[in-house]
Symmetry: C3
Subunit: 357 residues, 3 copies
């Protein structure tokens, strides 16, 4: 596919600066774009990447209008309201997605007689749908997916290959479950009796609300009594662990390898960066943010940003980290100071001014 | 289902305080219970949750008898020896589990002719059982499970969907393997030769002893020479990583996202909290505990509790963490002190008492 | 199988010290070897394990010739150039591997009509190969593997059970993908609009170059625009997370539970130990090493070894860790010093030498 810059600018309702006749064959990142590619910059901090940029054209958000005075800009700039959004629009033109196949319910899927499956839903070969399952309309259930007895699944849900839903898990509408995720495995609960761990039955479930996306390999354990809940619109990256009886609020975002022990609760709009760990029964307040690798043992107040192990308010932890970097120097200063104080005391004693301490 | 408090008290051999006629429809956690639910409290530290409790009845362990004098207790209390145990008993009444299906060996499973499968074992559609496999009696092998050549599996073993056993893995009796777990993948072993990593063949196996439970997505690599071993009764949570040639003792408990490098050995009754990491060839002594996110590079003595990176005895690390929190203040004090010592020295020099240092 | 030490020494072109007639039935690690087993020691630091060694014979690298003067050596030593290599050679004799089956393309696999599969490739029952897939020669595609539309796979590739390749992933030659790994799931990219996370389409791919090995349960997300790349010869352990648009150089080695956020780039020969975390857009310089649990937020210079959170050069961080261990003591010294300075000042004031500060 080939377009002129002029044609692409029309597409995104942008204003051209420079050469409107540049021929564009593809859309790439700033680092990878060549003379016939279009790229984009949406944030001021990404401007420095322009220095090595070889793109033929660039989409720039209007607020960065000053860009056109730089020497290192591509031959053509298209100014738009939102460069990322415009870029996605153009990228879709160059990379047309495959249409969603309409395969219906494969004869090579195993479907229990009591399962109910909505219209226009695809169930691929090798998927397994157990007794008393309800699946809504326009869903995609990929090969190797296991849906245990009693699960309830909304409309327009996508479950990628080899994901597993234990019995009685419920998914809302427009939920996306990526490959290999496991929802509803038993929580990690034992009674220690006579030198052995005895399993506590995990009789709760998992409830995933509307518009949630769950990453590949993520595990969400079923509750012991009530449900483990992931609130509406929340997004979990790959390899996240959610322990039993956690109740995650709406519109949370957890990056990869975050781990929550049992019975953690969160308000809405909570964010956790990669590899954060949270102890059991902790509450993360609405809108708080935990930065990468934070280790949390106590409730976090709403709206605050925490980091470190144990987690502290960000500014506090940054001051501590700076001091840690100076610890060897501080230790030396402390030793020198102790020696100097000894010397001064000795002088005072020598002159009869001070009694020996 | 509906019961009176009186009827439930009989069931668990408890003593009623309050209204024995309260009607109970369900069993829930303290936080979620309503006026027709029964709940429980087994630990003193959970008593404060009673304040918001709306339950119609509550099971309480006898040692917390003082509860009945609080103002915030539900209309009915049933005192029992062990409130958690009694609650589980009642919870089972309200949530009858599905009976285990007797499907036998599905025609839609792939079973090698040389495989031997015990009586009353279910092998679901889509499971794969390779050559020379032995599976005991009364096992459940769910869809998508792969059991490689030469595996030996005991009686009453459950392997949940899409778990994978590489060749020659052995499982004892009553083992539970959760969905997506992988046992026996090659250990991470290479020789660095002429600028390339060359694979060292991993010719060992994995041995899982009786009564072990392995969490969803957990990976246990096969040994290079001998077996990687998980000792009797040990419990591993989801997303745990056990490197090649580790030998885990009996009755260990590892929480989610714990990672052990190669050749780690542990005594019996070792506990690791979430996201702990242990370097290769380390020994964790019998009955020791590693707290969340600990990073261990040296052997840990038996019975001790360690935490931090690098891991230190708990009390020591707690002292250090308190000091870390005061580091900015310490740094300021140190600077003030240095200035004051300078001032005092100058005074002494000015009065001819001290020679310049 | 049974061999004399003499026979085994011939096999590995080694020189015997001690009893050449010892009968050997097996090959084991130093710790596990019995009187009819052969073992090996290739590194000086492993010599201390000889004390408890009960092996009948041992392979020793020539550079450790002094071993023969120890009292605790087995009855027979075979000196060789490289004891590890010689041991692997002998181990293979005692543990003959199963021959690779030639099953071809199973009738119980689902293969799209447009898929092209090379000669001598095995596709096991329950594998799924979608439209427009190309698979090279002599590959093994195990049960439960999903290969999405448009994937391109080289020769001699092994994909273990239940691994998942989303659409358009490409694998070079001799690539090994372990069980449950997921390649090409959507990157974690959202726009936050009007209080909701809106998915950014992830239109890039994943490219795995020749001779790469990917561990069990590892997840490698597809790029948003361009490909996520794992360079030639690189080795990833189990449960590693590679975010979207990362470009990993050649011959990198990442241990288990390492997590890279989006757009991380690395030079060749980079090594990451277990549970390392790297923030987005960071560059790891050629030949650098990140030690266990390091948390990296800034570019790492080539060839350096970093550790800690935030990561610092190893020597620096070790000094800091030593000081941290002494923090409680430092705090006490600081308090004593402050009191002593107060005392000295009071003396000077008392003698009229100093004005009150």
């Amino acid at each position: 596919m080939t377009f002129t810059v002029e044609r692409l600018a029309e597409e995104v309702q942008g204003t051209i600066w420079g050469d409107r006749d540049v021929i564009i064959h593809g859309a790439e990142s700033i680092e990878r774009a060549g003379p016939h590619d279009i790229t984009f910059v949406a944030e001021r901090r990404r401007l420095r990447a322009l220095r090595q940029c070889k793109a033929g054209a660039i989409l720039v958000s209007k607020e960065l209008a000053g860009v056109k005075d730089r020497e290192d800009v591509p031959p053509a700039i298209i100014f738009v309201d939102d460069a990322q959004l415009a870029f996605i629009q153009i990228l879709r033109k160059f990379r047309p997605q495959r249409p969603r196949p309409q395969i219906g319910i494969s004869e090579d899927a195993w479907i229990a007689p009591s399962a109910k499956i909505g219209e226009a839903t695809n169930v691929y070969p090798g998927a397994y749908v157990a007794e008393d399952v309800t699946i809504g309309a326009r869903c995609d259930i990929y090969p190797g997916v296991f849906i245990g007895p009693g699960c309830r699944i909304g409309d327009e849900v996508t479950i990628y290959p080899n994901a597993v839903l234990y019995p009685d898990v419920t998914l809302g509408h427009r939920v996306i479950i990526h490959a290999g995720a496991v929802l509803g495995a038993d929580g990690f609960g034992y009674r220690f009796e006579q030198g052995r761990y005895k399993k506590i039955p995990q009789l709760g479930t998992v409830r995933i609300e509307d518009d949630v996306e769950i990453g590949a390999g993520t595990t969400i354990d079923r509750g012991m009594i009530g449900p483990t809940v992931i609130g509406e619109g929340s997004k979990l990256d790959d390899q996240v662990m959610i322990g039993h009886n956690c109740e995650i609020g709406a519109h949370n975002a957890f990056a990869s390898q975050v781990g929550l022990a049992g019975s953690v609760t969160t308000g809405d709009y909570v964010r956790c960066a990669g590899q954060v760990g949270v102890a059991d029964h902790v509450h993360l307040g609405e809108g708080c943010t935990l930065l990468a690798k934070a280790g949390v043992h106590r409730d976090i107040p709403a709206g605050k940003m925490y980091v470190g192990v144990p987690a502290r308010p960000k500014e506090e932890q940054m001051q501590i980290a700076i001091c840690e970097g100076k610890l060897p120097e501080m230790k030396k200063t402390l030793e020198q100071l102790a020696a100097e104080v000894d010397r001064l005391r000795a002088i005072l004693e020598q002159h009869g001014l001070a009694e020996p301490a």
